[in-house]
């Protein structure tokens, strides 16, 4: 049994029960003795995080916890929060991690972290905008859109732009096939597409209130390392980093008004 804080455990539990729980329910779910549960709850009520038992005998969260989170978010600014998340993922994967933000009809590179220390590493000179059809980031965004919208963003002339790898989609049908696969699998991936010899995977970052995409998060590296098996390994890490980014992007001008 770890010495983890019972106060935090109770706050976490109440987070998913906005209308509250009874002492008995809390004690049972967290396997804490009832007497101890009452003690911790009283302290949480006193410090203002929890509303004391109402008419129904339930304890529920007050707005103090989200307000504290919002205050921290405002103070730290998006870059201070985002960079450590990217750095963590880069360290875990040992590859290049990047995020791109959606602004109207474009996807723009915003920040990156290089996880490969030496030897073969992929660190492209980033153009400002992401070329959608050939990149994992672009495809991850397109995955969230209805077909007509994809059509609008990626015209026939846009497909098969010169200067991209052999794995880049040559026709609109190629692109839609890649997107279908990505939708089924949960992440977009490209191989020898955006740059020859490199492969990448990406997922969208969603605005929590609207569940609409505000950006994308990718991991990219040399194709010889970024195999399909490796991507499957990376996928859950990518998901948890994206979730952290979603939280951190709450009120940021970086992902403004999407």
């Amino acid at each position: 049994m770890s010495s983890r804080s019972r106060g935090i455990a109770i706050l976490e539990l109440l987070t998913s029960h906005p209308w509250g729980l009874s002492v008995g329910e809390i004690a049972e779910q967290l396997a804490i003795p009832a007497a101890a549960t009452v003690r911790v709850l009283s302290s949480l009520v006193e410090s203002g995080y929890v509303h004391g038992s109402g008419k129904d005998g339930h304890y529920r969260l007050s707005p103090k916890l989200p307000a504290l989170g919002l205050a921290f978010l405002g103070a730290s600014g998006i870059t201070d929060l985002v960079q450590p998340i990217l750095d963590d993922l880069a360290k875990k994967t040992g590859e290049l991690v990047r995020i791109a933000a959606i602004s109207t009809d474009k996807l723009t590179w915003v920040a990156k972290s290089q996880g490969a220390r030496s030897g073969l590493l992929y660190d492209p000179e980033a153009a400002a905008d992401v070329y959608l059809p050939a990149s994992a980031n672009g495809q991850a965004w397109l995955c969230c859109l209805p077909d007509a919208e994809i059509r609008r963003l990626v015209s026939d002339e846009e497909i098969n732009r010169p200067g991209f790898g052999s794995g880049a989609p040559k026709t609109f049908a190629d692109l839609m096939k890649a997107i279908d696969i990505a939708r089924q699998r949960g992440y977009a991936s490209v191989r020898d597409s955006y740059a020859v010899g490199t492969s990448a995977m990406a997922i969208p970052i969603m605005r929590q209130s609207t569940r609409r995409p505000i950006g994308t998060l990718s991991v990219a590296g040399p194709t010889m390392r970024m195999t399909e098996a490796r991507m499957k390994e990376i996928f859950p890490w990518l998901q948890s980093s994206a979730k952290e980014l979603e939280a951190a992007s709450g009120s940021s001008p970086l992902f403004a008004a999407q």
């Binding site: 010495s3 919002l70 730290s76 450590p84 929590q208 939280a247 403004a256």
Partner: protein
């Protein structure tokens, strides 16, 4: 008296210091022995609330606190029902919009949305609790209270003369000039009161069928944009947003129940 949960106290301290603090300073601020502080921080690190840039370096919060707050707002229906109202007002005004909720005589910032797309934008570094005497949200809330009650709440926070704007009220009498005006017009307006160079307007969110406030909404921006004339244009939008939040939100668990 129940002693506050130490792990939560550490999170609170770190939320106020977004650039992180060394172990010794956390221990001193909370008057906890260093060895115990070290154990608590190790647990918080394991649980993902805290990170350390390098061994022996400063400790700082991750985005998990923010994520926890958001997950509560999301299960409580705030993200899906209230955030869009705030987002829309931010989009319409192109400025920073904040929804604060009344919680046991305090006003806590719950959600915000940045409407400014770039250029000069106002994104203040503020704690979770609204300082009532020198903010538009504070004035809007105070304007709904009886005079005695308003004075009591202001006295509890003290009348700050430092760290506020040049037009901040220096006496209770000056404060009531602002509050009386807010009560007359239904809108609190401040210029160079909270932060020099910024101005803001706010209105109370009233419980349906009652005169008591359950929250406030503010629109804030650089004074060069947020002029009296521009505020005039926002009055109806702001009042409409307050009305909607009252109608949809008053049943949500983030508001004090009648």
């Amino acid at each position: 008296m129940h002693p506050p949960d130490r792990a939560i106290s550490i999170i609170e301290v770190l939320a106020r210091h977004s650039f992180g603090l060394p172990l010794s300073e956390i221990a001193d601020q909370l008057a906890i022995p260093r060895s115990a502080t070290h154990r608590l921080l190790a647990d918080l690190k394991d649980e993902g609330y805290v990170r350390q840039d390098y061994d022996g370096g400063a400790y700082r919060l991750t985005a998990k606190l923010v994520a926890l707050g958001y997950s509560f707002l999301s299960t409580a229906g705030v993200s899906s029902q209230l955030q869009p109202i705030i987002d829309r007002l931010a989009e319409q005004t192109g400025e920073l919009v904040v929804l604060a909720v009344v919680e046991r005589g305090k006003l806590l910032r719950l959600i915000k949305a940045q409407g400014a797309r770039g250029g000069l934008l106002y994104n203040p570094d503020e704690g979770p609790e609204v300082y009532l005497a020198a903010t538009s949200n504070g004035h809007a809330y105070l304007s709904t209270l009886m005079e005695d009650e308003a004075i009591q709440l202001v006295a509890k926070q003290g009348l700050q003369t430092e760290g506020v704007g040049k037009n901040a009220p220096k006496t209770i009498r000056q404060l009531f000039e602002y509050i009386d005006k807010a009560r007359e017009t239904g809108i609190a307006r401040i210029f160079d009161v909270w932060v020099d160079g910024t101005s803001a307007m706010a209105a109370p969110v009233l419980r349906p069928g009652a005169k008591s406030a359950i929250g406030t909404i503010s629109v804030a921006g650089p004074t060069i944009r947020m002029t009296h004339e521009r505020m005039d244009q926002f009055v109806d939008l702001l009042k409409a947003a307050c009305g909607k939040v009252a109608e949809i939100g008053s049943g949500l668990p983030v508001f004090e129940q009648a």
